[in-house]
């Protein structure tokens, strides 16, 4: 066993949130060590292939999924430098102010401990840092904020064809807001619209963690360490402060890393699992679990993909993977008939022949010669868009420990997820509306996918009340405030909005605040 030299901050996970924390703390002069369970990837390790892209996805330790619905954990999670965000699609809309006050405004869901105005500045900062493209004026639903630093991405045949359907139904479309460069920016090249984002963008056009915050962190002196699998947080005798973490290196050797503060940014399920596995006599139900809320309020956006065949050549293999146009007409939460919650459309997704979201999978019922015929036709004429729906926080959707263990003897995670009537209702509305839009756009045939799950949130939610939440507004555990949580696991509500922009904004706000009040918030605890 090795016991290393103490650092100011040890970070668990070198993905989206971990990289932001690493950059901000290192730039504030803190000694930072970030431990990543997966390999130490570079941009040049990202190969354009849907098959090779699967190396970036989660494989182990296994997460047992129970309940009626799947959160598609292995698809939605990633490992290695960059985490899931290394192959994410960069669709970055903002949460709306009402998303953060659902309980107060509608008597549903939960309230965040912060309001939109307190987050807005960090959204603006992050979009400037990474170089977002979009059109703030045409995006008529967009909450207040600085205009995008870059003009929108161009719209190709695929987007134009589908936009006709929206127009015919009196619906609006805007360029999609993305963390992808429409022009060269800070030495990074503009996107070339080849639609390999799902395999990871190696040029730096898409703002994955390796492009902005990870290099900033290392330039400021942070050490990023791969093949280091963190198993639990270590505590002092009184159980009032964390003293570091335990981890296993690539050879299976156990280490202890002492630190003044611990940031857990290992994505939603692992965040809860590490805290549950850190239970001791002072924190019998898991670290940070005096409220009993640890692991609860797991959320995943119900998503429906609409497919259609068009006479025109859609060239659906071009563009960016995440879509060309955007619509939030069905966002108003109380206006969606029979179901509460918001919805949005990402329109004209770049689609390749194979993989889970590929052309062949869009008609999973076909095989043999029919499948050949379909893939051939679809490669030129398929239209694709995805409807993303809100999932309300429900404490029975949860992350717990399994009675099975990983190779180091630590219990694995098991998740229970059942979509409620709201989520299911919104999903059905989206499916129906999507087919209408495609027909109005001139599709010769249109169909939709079964329910899918996008983005995974909750489990370590923030809140004002320590009786009902796990962290405070700066993502510090109420019970042990020198443990800080990163990522969408701290979100108390899901909205229908993609989670990564908000995860960056929240991490930046917390890191800047904690760095500024370091002695008071961390040292003098």
């Amino acid at each position: 066993m090795g016991k290393a030299e103490k650092v100011d901050v040890v970070i668990v996970g070198c993905g989206a949130a971990g990289s932001v924390y690493a950059a901000i703390f290192a730039e504030a002069g803190k000694r930072v060590l970030a431990l990543e369970k997966g390999p130490g990837r570079k941009l040049t390790d990202l190969y354009s292939s849907q098959i090779w892209a699967r190396r970036l996805k989660w494989g182990a330790p296994h997460v047992f999924e129970e309940g009626k619905d799947s959160i598609w954990y292995n698809f939605n999670a990633g490992h290695g430098y960059g985490g899931a965000a290394i192959h994410h699609y960069g669709v970055w809309p903002r949460y709306h102010p009402e998303d953060l006050q659902e309980r107060t405004l509608y008597g549903k869901g939960l309230d965040w401990p912060v309001e939109y105005d307190q987050i807005r500045h960090y959204y603006d900062q992050v979009q400037e840092d990474v170089g977002m493209s979009g059109d703030a004026e045409k995006e008529i639903w967009r909450p207040p904020g600085a205009p995008y630093p870059l003009p929108p991405l161009p719209v190709f045949e695929h987007g134009n064809i589908l936009a006709k359907g929206f127009t015919a139904l009196d619906m609006h479309t805007s360029p999609i807001p993305v963390a992808i460069l429409s022009q060269d920016y800070k030495g990074r090249p503009a996107c070339i619209y080849d639609s390999w984002c799902d395999a990871g963008c190696p040029t730096g056009a898409l703002a994955n963690p390796l492009v902005e915050y990870f290099p900033r962190a290392t330039q400021a002196g942070a050490v990023m360490q791969s093949d280091s699998y963190v198993s639990r947080v270590l505590l002092d005798r009184q159980g009032t402060r964390a003293t570091g973490v335990e981890y296993f290196d690539g050879k299976g050797e156990r280490h202890e890393q002492p630190a003044d503060a611990v940031v857990i940014a290992a994505f939603t399920v692992e965040n809860s699992r590490i805290l549950l596995n850190s239970a001791n006599d002072k924190h019998a139900g898991g670290l940070g679990n005096s409220s009993g809320a640890l692991g609860q309020y797991l959320m995943s956006h119900p998503a429906v993909t609409i497919f259609g065949m068009f006479r025109e050549d859609t060239r659906c293999y071009l563009g960016i993977t995440g879509g060309q146009l955007f619509n939030q007409d069905p966002f108003a939460k109380e206006k969606n008939k029979d179901a509460f919650g918001s919805r949005q459309w990402e329109i004209g997704l770049g689609t390749k022949p194979n993989d889970l979201l590929g052309i062949a999978m869009s008609r999973a019922d076909l095989f043999g010669d029919d499948l050949h015929k379909f893939v051939k036709q679809g490669s030129r004429h398929l239209g694709v868009m995805v409807g993303v729906c809100e999932c309300l926080p429900d404490k029975t959707n949860r992350i717990e420990l399994s009675n099975k263990q990983d190779k180091f003897g630590m219990p694995l995670a098991r998740v229970t997820f059942n979509l409620d009537d709201n989520g299911r209702g919104l999903w059905h509305q989206a499916a129906e509306e999507g087919l209408e839009i495609f027909k109005a756009a001139g599709a010769t045939e249109a169909w939709h996918s079964p329910p899918g799950g996008q983005h995974i949130m909750g489990g370590t939610i923030m809140g004002k009340d320590r009786e009902t939440s796990v962290t405070n507004e700066y993502a510090q555990l109420h019970d042990v405030p020198n443990v800080i949580i990163g990522g969408p696991s701290v979100f108390p509500t899901a909205s229908c909005v993609n989670s990564t922009f908000m995860a960056h904004a929240v991490a930046m706000r917390s890191a800047q605040h904690i760095a500024k009040h370091w002695n008071q918030l961390i040292i003098a605890l």
Partner: protein, 184 residues
Amino acid sequence: MTLSRRNFIKQSGLALTFTVAGKTMLLTPRQARAGNIPFAVLTPEEVSALETICDHLLPGARENGVAHFVDQQLTVDPNDSLLFIKYFNVEPPHVDFYKSALKEINLLSESIYGKGITAIDKAEAEKLIETLRDGKAADWNGPPSPLAYHILRNDAVDVVYGTMEGFEALDIPYLAHITPPRTW
């Protein structure tokens, strides 16, 4: 454009490392098949069953080396796996899934037609696949049959269409930023 063999493998997007008698070779699954490269985890019967069912699911899968692709990938760490099964809630090691599914498919064929999967004709295979896909297989004791259908079907799609050759057959540009390296 003419490609050298080495470049072709590099650009095909699906070159795998096979070790035979201590010697490491870089081959596409199609070449591994043509060169009779031995299998690591699947038995000859399982290989035949896998090739047959996949070729019915998407003609061309056999020739494109689906069995070598699957067999080789079943030997790697689950985090590094390139198999479609990785997305599903199936606890590794995935070799158990394949072995059990292939065994049950063969039994199903025997129970319906009185002969194994490799002996049935195209029309018989179509009916059998529909039974699998629709979860209607009687006395099925393997992983859920619709899941087995999806996994095997997508393995076939991967080797037929997931490569540069596949894109070329579809007449769409591949447009790679970085093609996969020779070894991995």
